[in-house]
């Protein structure tokens, strides 16, 4: 079984995003960029399935600028076998990403597509579900455990009140939640090896996908800032303040 893993290049999760003063977006110039953390978890899960003998090949895909190659190389260094960069400098919305992934899935016929549940830049939480819809396949979103058996996959999902388990027929789409696994670091030899793994470069037009945005961003602004309050000297002072709030 082949596994397709879409990975997005995003602002590093340790960086505090700054809104540009002209209100057009977030300033990404000279900002550290990394693989979306949920996608690292997706890559790790695919590798573990390969190590268990469930998967035979892992293909990483990224839709983004030339620099998204670095993200794909990270996936290759972790253990993916080959990569496809669908290169574009435009910001591509989840629906268009899903359409590109659909075209790739039809070419590659993976048994599983494992995506992150959410990209930490747009915070959309859409692409996996959209891909599942376009392919007419089942979806196991927010996965905290993935078990492949025969022609089905059992997915434990993180839901509002706790956990839910669903069984999906393969091929299926899975999106990762934080507790699915702890991604490995790529070792130096593997980073070197990744440099010679195949990486194909394509364009959205190769898949016949129009990436024109459907949502127009009129403005991007800073959220209202909370100013720091006061520090109280001791527990007694805190008790007094809490009583003033009327909750005790």
């Amino acid at each position: 079984m082949k596994i397709l893993v879409p990975v997005k290049r995003v602002i590093d999760y340790n960086v505090k995003p700054r809104v540009k003063s002209d209100g057009t977006g977030v300033d990404l110039a000279n900002v550290k960029m990394s693989m979306n953390p949920f996608d690292e978890i997706a890559v790790e899960e695919a590798i573990r399935l390969k190590e268990k003998g469930v998967a035979t090949e892992i293909v990483a895909v990224s839709v983004g600028p030339a620099k998204a190659q670095e993200t794909l190389r990270t996936a290759l260094a972790m253990g993916a076998d080959r990569a496809i960069l669908v290169q574009t400098d435009d910001e591509v919305e989840p629906l268009a990403v899903a359409k590109i992934l659909k075209a790739i899935a039809e070419e590659e016929t993976p048994g599983l597509v494992i995506l992150g549940k959410q990209a930490i830049d747009d915070d959309s939480n859409q692409t996996g579900q959209m891909l599942a819809a376009l392919l007419g396949r089942p979806q196991g979103t927010f996965a905290s455990e993935v078990t492949v058996e025969g022609d089905s996959v059992t997915v434990k999902r993180e839901v509002d009140g706790g956990l839910e388990t669903v069984k999906l027929s393969l091929p299926a789409i899975v999106t990762t939640d934080l507790r699915l696994n702890e991604p490995r670091y790529a070792s130096l030899p593997n980073i070197m090896k990744a440099k010679s793994k195949p990486l194909a470069t394509k364009a959205p037009a190769d898949y016949g996908v129009d990436t024109a945005p459907r949502l127009k961003t009129l403005k991007v602004s800073e959220p209202p800032v909370r100013s720091a309050g006061i520090k109280v000297a001791d527990v007694d002072a805190l008790v007094a303040k809490i009583k003033e709030l009327g909750i005790a």
Binding site: K16, P17, V26, N125, L163, K167, R214, E222, I247, A248
Partner: protein
Amino acid sequence: MTKTLVWVEHDNATVKDATLSTVTAAAQLGEVHLLVAGSGAQAVADAAAKIAGVGKVHLADSPAFANALAENVAPLIVELMASHDAFVAPATSNGKNIAPRVAALLDVAQVSDILSVEGPKTFTRPTYAGNAIATVESSDAKLVITVRGTAFAKAASEGGSGAVEAVSGGGDAGLSSFVSAEIAKSERPELTSAKVIVSGGRALKDGPTFEQVIFPLADKLKAAVGASRAAVDAGYVPNDYQVGQTGKIVAPEVYIAVGISGAIQHLAGMKDSKTIIAINKDEDAPIFQVADLGLVADLFTAVPELTGKL
């Protein structure tokens, strides 16, 4: 006039609160119709019909809808969307699971997690863990939206007189099946609707310590209990306690953060709380930058003392 179809969040017995703020958001777009997709869910539909401002309630009752499997309910919603202009769901785990599947089937972009309705097709939504608020305008013929519950007031659960109408459609798509659920039952208020929340972080050491320190304070304040990702990952408490960018979004009257550093991903989930109180032994912890009241102290002495004196 725009006709909206609102996803009613329920457990086949009662309407969940998340529905009420979603109705408020939908009402800003136009007429509010509800969809109750469930199994043996007549009582839910009857209760939903009483929500203030609601027109029709579509009740799709089938074993296939019992667990809100996206594969089964999305085709049903797509059929109903032939006579509606907007599908509006709460940003709950069901809403987040189902809405994008509907959007793709309708070939429209989804607007996730809206904070406000600025115009017929214009919304604000948080991006970058809430560090950048985007105002976006949809160019699609139909809208698919999820709603951040904390950003909209709750519609009154009484006062409406909607008509319940049975609908058929969809059914078992044969792609997926529900196996089981482990839903924790708790006497405490639910995180997303609690007035007071006490959250604990990595500093709480382990599960038993978390319980000994945090629970008595929460009980004293009739508060819900939350946690940072670090506390959840370390297994102190179940995953559905997580507050943050990728956990629950909360905005209680009072949020008490105990032994939580205040990473941006945590702040994303609680910085709209009315009053934030932080207890941390590190006076430079970032949580103090958003806290209205801070106490620099060792939580293992401060919290029991606080609980005792309240």
